[in-house]
Symmetry: none
Subunit: 305 residues, 2 copies
DNA sequence: GCCTGTGTTGCCCGAATCGCAACGGGGCAG
DNA sequence: CTGCCCCGTTGCGATTCGGGCAACACAGGC
């Protein structure tokens, strides 16, 4: 939208903390940018940036303004979506922040299903850990977040939640794959393990159980990439960990839930920023997503407005 | 505000239901107006007005948009008012890093006095040692620093400085409390001492004097907490050290300055980061603070910009 | 028919905006 | 201390965009 050009400039300078870098991102020259900022500051009657040697730093006034800009853009997006909605063609954009565990099939399946019906709706899917996901919501970088075990935050409004039991993931030939049904933790620990690292909620959950148990940790491999761990499991007789929603439908893989006596379930949560009115397309997608998660995993949608 | 020119046009056309009348009110020609409206409709991908013989009538989409425009304008007005407020010193935030010695009454008194007049101004007070305080300034974690004996640094711009003579601190019944006026260092050393540890500037200053004198150190207690030392002095006949601004008004405590022949005064400094333009509220607070420190302890404000 | 109101379009001008190059200043390694 | 780099800023010329003027097309009332 044309009329928010200047506001976009401000937001970008605030993001990068420097006019030159922001100018590059905006495909204009620093001179044009500095002039726009100066004009705006003149209009407001007060500077909104502190000029420091390293660049531009938001002022107290600037902080207020940038928040306004974010709100204003989100609101406009909502209005545009509403307008598109009533003109028949459903258009819109959904920005989703999700944990790694869901990029395998949960999110892609849902996006595909939604786009099959409304091809005009576009998506941005950012992979973030549980902390970053909440931050993304708060900063309007994401409309929805799908995460495991999020830190309790008053800013989040839960749209759906359920429990997921951690599973041991091995390849078909692995000794643990000889049986089905729950597996005890000690049986897993008897084998070399390939674990998510501490940037992932799964690991935190696992470490807690281990700490209670007092067992030493026998991780031979750590990675921040679940996909890497999965590929490793296919190549070696190692045991990895995964939540059910992160396990692909691959005949070469076997998974068995960890016995409930050893490890409690993790929470899976779909959430938005509290108090925000989502654009129509986004709200509709969120609603369907909650429904299909319920169908897959049980659990409950939260029905407060 | 410039950036909502187009939105104002839309609102005005909606109000009057006719481009020509709206154009008259806006002091532009109908042609300019109709073009702007067309551009906007093109951007939105849908008309927002119905063209009827009598003029322009708002569409369903237009209704939504006009509501958004109204909200948008109100919100901007709110933000502008907030900004005006904080440039009027009535709002704002002050982040102060200070030494432990000042949390007893110097800083609380000043903050209370300032907030009595400007309750919208909020404060963050971090207790840091003299090295960390300077670092906090440099990293924009603090706007102001109030410290004893700061390391000389070109980054700091002194807003106020004065001298403080170290005092021996004892409880009312202590032998040293029988007299008033300056006390010699050897008389202090004759008693068991409870001293700040080396994380505090007071201790460095004291150790220097001791090294010059070649005396052995008779510290029986060391602590990084001045409050702890004070509470100890109340319970035992030990001698502690404190600067005047760190001594609470407690009838159970007595203090006597160390004789100037034994120990030079320490410097107390209020400073900001050199070259930084502080927010109005912060600058005003700093100014008052310097004034009230001057009134209490003498010394001089530095008047370079 | 005429007249008056509406929105719209072509042409032109002036101002806002932008790009380019250069300037002044602070941080930083040599 | 010096040279270098990156920062924001400024002067100037080119471009784009917003706006004014006049004319056009259409609808309704007399």
């Amino acid at each position: 939208m044309k009329h928010l050009r200047i506001l976009t400039y401000v937001a970008e300078v605030a993001r990068h903390g420097a006019i030159r870098r922001a100018a590059e991102r905006l495909n204009i020259t620093p001179s044009a940018l500095t002039r726009q900022i100066q004009d705006l500051e003149y209009e407001l009657g007060t500077p909104i940036f502190e000029r420091v040697a390293q660049g531009m730093r938001l002022n107290a006034a600037g902080e207020l303004l940038v928040r306004h800009i974010r709100d204003q853009r989100a609101d406009l997006e909502r209005v545009r979506s509403q307008i598109a909605d009533l003109s028949g063609v459903r258009r819109g954009h959904v920005a989703l922040a999700c944990s790694q565990a869901f990029v395998n099939h949960v999110v892609p399946d849902e996006v595909e299903a939604y786009r099959a019906q409304f091809p005009q709706v576009t998506f941005t899917v950012q992979v973030r850990d549980h902390v970053q996901a909440v931050a993304a919501l708060a900063q309007f970088e994401a409309d929805l977040a799908l995460v495991l075990q999020p830190p309790p935050s008053a800013e989040m409004q839960v749209l759906f939640s359920c429990r997921q039991t951690l599973c041991a993931l091995v390849r078909a030939g692995h000794p643990l794959a000889r049986e089905t049904g729950p597996v005890r933790l000690r049986d897993c620990l008897a084998h070399p393990m390939a674990l998510p690292d501490r940037s992932l909620a799964i690991r935190h959950h696992f470490d807690e159980a281990l700490a209670r148990r007092g067992s030493p940790l026998g991780a031979v491999i750590e990675s921040s990439s679940l996909e890497f761990l999965r590929n490793l499991v296919l190549r070696e007789d190692v045991v990895s960990l995964q939540v059910p929603s992160g396990i692909p439908d691959d005949p070469r893989l076997r998974s068995r839930p960890i016995d409930a006596r050893d490890l409690g379930p993790m929470s899976l949560i779909l959430a938005q920023l509290r108090g925000r009115t989502l654009p129509v397309a986004t709200a509709k997608f969120a609603d369907r997503f909650a429904g299909s998660l319920h169908q897959r995993y049980g659990g409950a949608g939260a029905s407060d407005t």
